[in-house]
Subunit: 338 residues, 4 copies
């Protein structure tokens, strides 16, 4: 087998597990005799160029660290042809055979853009807490973000129960409800306002009102937790809190989880996914693959054309929808046999 | 020894460790032959009255739970004499010898108010995440809140480092900086805006600006975390974030930790403090003590007259001030020998 | 839809998430008008009989608790026909339509045995930290046990690095290496001795010796962590530690994680799996299913005949084997293109 | 103020918080213009010599890491005069003014030994999970070890409750019961066998037997957790487990927490203590202090002659003894008024 020169970079919002993936790429490569270099600050590093050599020793003891040792950034400039050509030039000068790009759909668009001007192998690895990438069951960072959001909801429930109060918890997700759905289920929330299940504000308010009344009868107390995906409620979480206070006559406290959800030591599932995808990506390099994302479907690796990852919309599985409707939003009237 | 009838209630903002304290009170009492009843929803439970008998079995496996099994509430109504008289009547009817009240200074004022109309033993136990109670080194819930805030700052640092960004983290504390100071030190924050160290907004902004410049030279990167106590910055955290953006020319992201800080399984130090104070409170009941708070000073129990707990202001120890100034706010110019 | 009377019990080794599953069964059932009763102490509860009615209120705030509110037990006695007949009699007397049994393969054999003498619906739900159940990608409790084992390995690595020492960590798994494999990958262990990859002791010792030598060259230090599945090394972990000390001339410290792996608040993935399977099990009851296990394959529910769950052996996926060989046991010589 | 050259090393068993302390020493020193170098592998580093320069950048983002970036070791050789003379020679050659030694009593004996042959400032900082150092209320690492042991006991309780079984949990502590006492209180254990409260095996077994019988009556179940300090029971934990099985007729499961207790990200209290002591130690250097340990008493720094730290035995506070006897070992007969 010919050994290759492999580049790696992390781009877009950082996600826990990026370091675990970098480590796997380096260890797998080194075991096979490949060389690995890392570009810093995402696509900016390709333009500077700003890079350093990576080896096993340098990635020892990083599997447990959040963030990314290669730093990340968003890079508007890279949308221009001139930037991508410049990057291609640097990659050629460094004699790179393949570049592995960890990030979300914005990063994959950048990867595709680069591939128009560079004939090396371009391979994407899905890393975003939002899980909004088609072609992979889950993305690196998603598991940890669920756990972080769930831990926060667990804590909120303690005080919600103590005071019998309504709480509104805003989670990330950009325009997708995956994180919100899983956080709501695992946190035993009572309602979830998610892009996938949202119709309009008034209907939602009515539905919450109805559920609150059923809830009080069933549980004999007022503690009620609503999970809300960011960027969804027309005028924001504080407006929603006010509307709910008017509706219920009680206090409604908003909690915005914010950037805390991006960080933290990756949970085991993110480390395993990141390590697995890192190994598979090196394998794809060896097999000469090009312009794909390496994801995971049904516990086995899946190769997906880059553009498909953002062109096809990822949707809730039937089972996830059913669980949501049974445990949360429609459980007062839901017929499971349907 | 005569056995007694002991009442317990939790009042004000809930704090992790309240359940551990209730458990200790019940187990210690039962071992000595006393009877324990718990009033629900704070002082409201005294007025209803709304109570239930507690025994060891009922408090099994609650030491690790946040919130309070007795529920809590704020009770404006209790400030009136008529309410306190009503409570006194119910305590007499139930033949209660002593009442143990867990909470912060508002709860202790309520306790003192009750003692004017009832001649049983009134004993306070300090439970608040704010640690703003004079006469005790720490309060039940404070340790867990520090840990929660620190965990969040650790997570924020991951993403701050990845993006080399300035983050602003708002922690609770009401009007005291204890939580902010400990969260900032343990979270390795770079600056803290706390009531105890605050002068005026402009001076603070200038100081941050100066420190940022030293920081960049020393560390070679831009990641910088500022901890802010709630209720302190004149126009709120978002205004401060904008001002810092103008000042630095970079992005500044605000994170409000919020009610998450009130909940969670109590950390070991809170469970130990809560258990110790619960045992000591039962001992005080047996010794006929009245109108005191049972706190802890220098690892030993301390009895403090109730009114002293709010009349005297609790301040930073010399060592805490020195650590703050060395590791955070003035470290560029601080002379430790002073 | 006809409403039904549904029984539930937990059997065999307890697994984190059992409570989350009980909660989902109760909430989903109540929403559809079914009645739920819980038998206590596993199959013993069917024999006593020892049961209680469950409703939403009783399962509030249990999603986050390890163990099982219904208690568990192993029940040798239930292997006899007379015991199963006795259980069938009690189920008929209580007019139960369906029984949901949470546990591992021993519990499912018990379930099958019961079905010979009772014509109600018998449905199994996979709950064991060992993940050794065919027909479901993962089992309830497996995710939490991986996280617990990984957290311990993370801690061991701190001290292994500080002292540059070899550590041997024994994890559970009964006779399967799933837990060991995932703990080793996520904990960044350096070697794993698992049933699925084990040949014989001497060959293993030689292989470790060889890897240690490569490791020292590559990393420049001696810290090395080996994960071992319980019940595998012929004379136990202490004997292996001694052999390794003789082989390497350095100290080798054994750590047995033990029963700690069974407990703890379930991680988000276990709560989600448990909730999803609970909902699907109620759906299967409504659809009249019988003598099946409800598991999960490829993120969708899967119904598997009970006897198949233990008759077919569950094996490592190709990707898991590849990751293991690349990151751990054979990485010095592994050719990914094979 | 004259700037100084300060050396630092970590010695003996590693303790979480050592890195936080190294960071504080470096940041505080750099702020005042001092130079810091770190010796590697404890006293071995003084002999090699093996050292590197430390600055703020090198200690960024280590506050949260367990272990020690300077590595640690035990060094029998250093007991000899020739070794200490050799170390003194190296310190003089490097023009070191002061050396800060983090560790336990063995390390402090080494520090004292060094001071006989070197006239620079020798200052100890208490870092051991055992807390067995006189002159300081707590030691760096102790808080995290309590939390780790408590977390494990919480997990064991889940399975103990589910199976109604007796568990025996062995914690570290060398020859002191501080860790065991705090782990037992915070973990809500039912009994503790600690050096400070131990009389003889037979009496202990009788006492446990008696308490078990009271426990069953009071709680109506068999779940019972006993904490045992290592090195205490004459023939080890497995022998004790057997004896308890004979005594009770039920299963008794031993769990040895082991080296897991040494690692992990330091909890907030350890980071705060470590940071505070690091700052105070630099202050002591500036003040010309010599041959002392810098500890903490009553929330303020305390300077203690080195030899006093091991010559005087540290004992349980009255309050700790009372809490232990009320909540654990003698609660069936304890009279709090004594």
């Amino acid at each position: 087998m010919t050994t290759k020169r492999i580049a790696v970079l992390t781009s877009g919002g950082d996600a826990p597990g990026m370091n675990a993936c970098i480590r796997a790429i380096v260890v797998a490569s080194e075991g096979a005799g490949h060389t690995v270099i890392g570009f810093e600050h995402g696509f900016h590093g390709l333009l500077a160029p700003n890079w350093r050599k990576l080896d096993s020793k340098k990635v020892h003891n990083i599997i447990q660290r959040g963030g990314t040792i290669l730093r990340s950034a968003r890079c508007e400039e890279f949308k221009q042809d001139s930037a991508a050509k410049n990057a291609a030039k640097h990659l050629s000068e460094l004699a790179i055979d393949a570049i592995l790009i960890l990030g979300g759909d914005g990063s994959f668009r950048g990867a595709k853009h680069l591939s128009k001007f560079w004939d090396g192998q371009v391979i994407g690895l899905p890393a975003t807490i939002d899980n909004d990438i088609y072609g992979t069951d889950t993305t690196i960072g998603y598991y940890t973000a669920i756990q972080t959001a769930m831990d926060s909801i667990d804590k909120v429930r303690d005080t919600a129960d103590a005071f019998e109060r309504i709480f509104l918890v805003e989670v990330m997700g950009r325009h997708a409800g995956f994180l919100g759905a899983k956080a709501a289920i695992s946190g035993a929330a009572n309602y979830a306002i998610l892009p996938e299940l949202f119709t309009d504000p008034d209907e939602t308010l009515n539905d919450i009102h109805q559920q609150l009344s059923i809830h009080r009868k069933r549980y004999g107390h007022e503690s009620f937790i609503i999970v809300l995906t960011e960027n969804l409620w027309p005028e924001g979480i504080n407006t929603l809190a006010e509307k709910l206070e008017n509706l219920t006559g009680g206090e409604v406290r908003p909690v915005i989880l914010g950037h805390v959800q991006r960080g933290g030591s990756p949970v085991s599932q993110d480390r395993i996914l990141a390590t697995t995808l890192g190994v598979e990506a090196v394998r794809c390099v060896e097999q000469g693959k090009h312009c794909i994302m390496v994801g995971q479907q049904n516990l086995e690796p899946a190769e997906v054309p880059l553009e498909q990852t953002w062109e096809t919309k990822k949707v809730f599985s039937d089972s996830l929808t059913r669980t949501m409707k049974t445990m949360l939003n429609e459980r007062h009237s839901w017929d499971l046999t349907k």
